[in-house]
């Protein structure tokens, strides 16, 4: 599973993402249980196909990939190694403390560290970025825009 990448963020494996919840092996049959990050994440279909391909290559005769919704995925399940890989890739990893989960308005922006110059002097541009899991930030220090893997 370490070799199955997230098609949108290829430096992360499905293990780094924390979406593989269980593996059941009976003889040469294998079932992988995964959970989607976002309801509408278009990468999920590709991910389950890639899991199937890689296991068939490894000699498993019967591969089932099952998707479950509950308990719901959260960025807390992302591995520390995965967060470091994100940072090196230029995407700010999710902050360890969940700060989004209420509907309070104009809440103070989270302190997000710029993955390029490490400054915390950054500004939220939009809560919605290039994919469902990211929001768009700008660094006030080095002026580079960057993606933040938002808390979820």
């Amino acid at each position: 599973m370490e070799q199955v990448p997230d098609p949108e963020v290829p430096v992360l494996s499905v293990i780094d993402l924390g979406i593989v919840r269980d593996v059941k092996i009976i003889g040469d049959e294998i079932e992988i249980i995964i959970t989607p990050t976002y309801s509408g994440c278009p990468a999920m279909d590709v991910i389950s196909m890639e899991i199937r391909m890689i296991l068939l290559e490894r000699g498993f005769k019967k591969v089932t990939v099952t998707s479950i919704l509950s308990p719901a995925w959260t960025t807390d399940w992302m591995s520390e190694a995965g967060k470091e890989k994100l940072r090196l890739y230029g995407i700010a990893p999710p902050n360890p403390v969940q700060t989004v989960c209420d509907i309070k308005l104009f809440a103070e922006d989270e302190a997000v560290q710029c993955p390029h110059c490490k400054s915390y002097n950054t500004k939220l541009v939009s809560q919605f970025g290039s994919t469902a899991c990211k929001s768009l930030y700008k660094c006030n220090n080095c002026l580079e825009p960057f993606d933040y893997f938002k808390c979820h």
């Binding site: 989607p36 309801s39 719901a72 989004v100 509907i103 939009s126 809560q127 919605f128 970025g129 768009l136």
Partner: protein
């Protein structure tokens, strides 16, 4: 089943409606934001449709013409759709879009919060999965309502107009349809009348912040949840279903 389809139709139609902004948003970031919201809604709709298809297939022994998420989205007619009228109305201007999103997302937020406790494990799981997404939608849309209401004379004029136009369609959000009432005893559906106060408090808070007045008219347009729609639903379905109906089973 009707309840699951109703939840799915709400999400699908609003998702499809908002997707009309893709490539046409006022600025790139907001174009991406509204498209992201569409994607979340269509994802939720897929989960509900997949569940509905399982329910339909379980209840019939025939192996031909099995239901799938696609047959439910693309091959049902107007009268079979159970979405609220609010979500099918034309996209209007930006003020109309963000205000509708706010009215709807606030409803969906409290709905999913309760639906997580449903005795139906699958509906509860979909609600749990979707709740954080909806939280983002509420925050984003409420901030836009305030920005426009408390903005310029022109933005205030537009959102005041949108509020006037949308208000009569909000009644369906907090009134139970027959199939909802029928499921209450077994704790399968959420009793929408219990959400009314929560919904209204949040709406009042944001409208106040936006310097907008709560409309006083009490008369509400209903019927969507029972399949009686405005003329707008036919057009959006025609556009959405055209390809599947013209080339049945086509894939890409």
């Amino acid at each position: 089943l009707n309840y699951t389809l109703h939840l799915a139709d709400n999400a699908l139609i609003l998702g499809q409606r908002n997707a009309e902004w893709t490539g046409h948003g006022p600025v790139l970031e907001q174009d991406i934001a509204i498209s992201n919201i569409s994607l979340d809604l269509i994802g939720q709709a897929r989960n509900f449709y997949q569940y509905a298809a399982t329910l339909i297939n379980q209840s019939t022994s025939q192996s031909l013409n099995r239901s799938t998420e696609d047959t439910l989205a693309y091959l049902r007619n107007e009268k079979e759709f159970k979405n609220c009228l609010l979500v099918e109305l034309k996209k209007g201007d930006w003020a109309f879009t963000v205000l509708r999103q706010f009215l709807f997302s606030t409803y969906q937020f409290y709905l999913y919060q309760q639906l997580q406790k449903s005795a139906d494990a699958m509906l509860a799981a979909i609600a749990e999965k979707s709740l954080k997404e909806v939280t983002y939608h509420v925050r984003w849309s409420a901030e836009w309502v305030i920005r426009l209401g408390d903005g310029t004379t022109e933005s205030n004029r537009r959102i005041t107009g949108a509020l006037h136009d949308l208000w009569p369609y909000t009644g369906e959000l907090t009134g139970n349809a027959g199939y909802e009432t029928a499921l209450l005893a077994e704790n399968l559906a959420v009793d929408l009348t219990t959400l009314k106060e929560l919904w209204m408090d949040k709406i009042k808070e944001v409208l106040h912040e936006a310097t907008l007045e709560l409309p006083q008219n009490q008369w509400m347009q209903t019927g969507g949840k029972e399949g009686n729609h405005t003329e707008h639903l036919g057009f959006i379905l025609a556009e959405m279903q055209y390809l599947q109906r013209t080339y049945p089973g086509v894939e890409w």
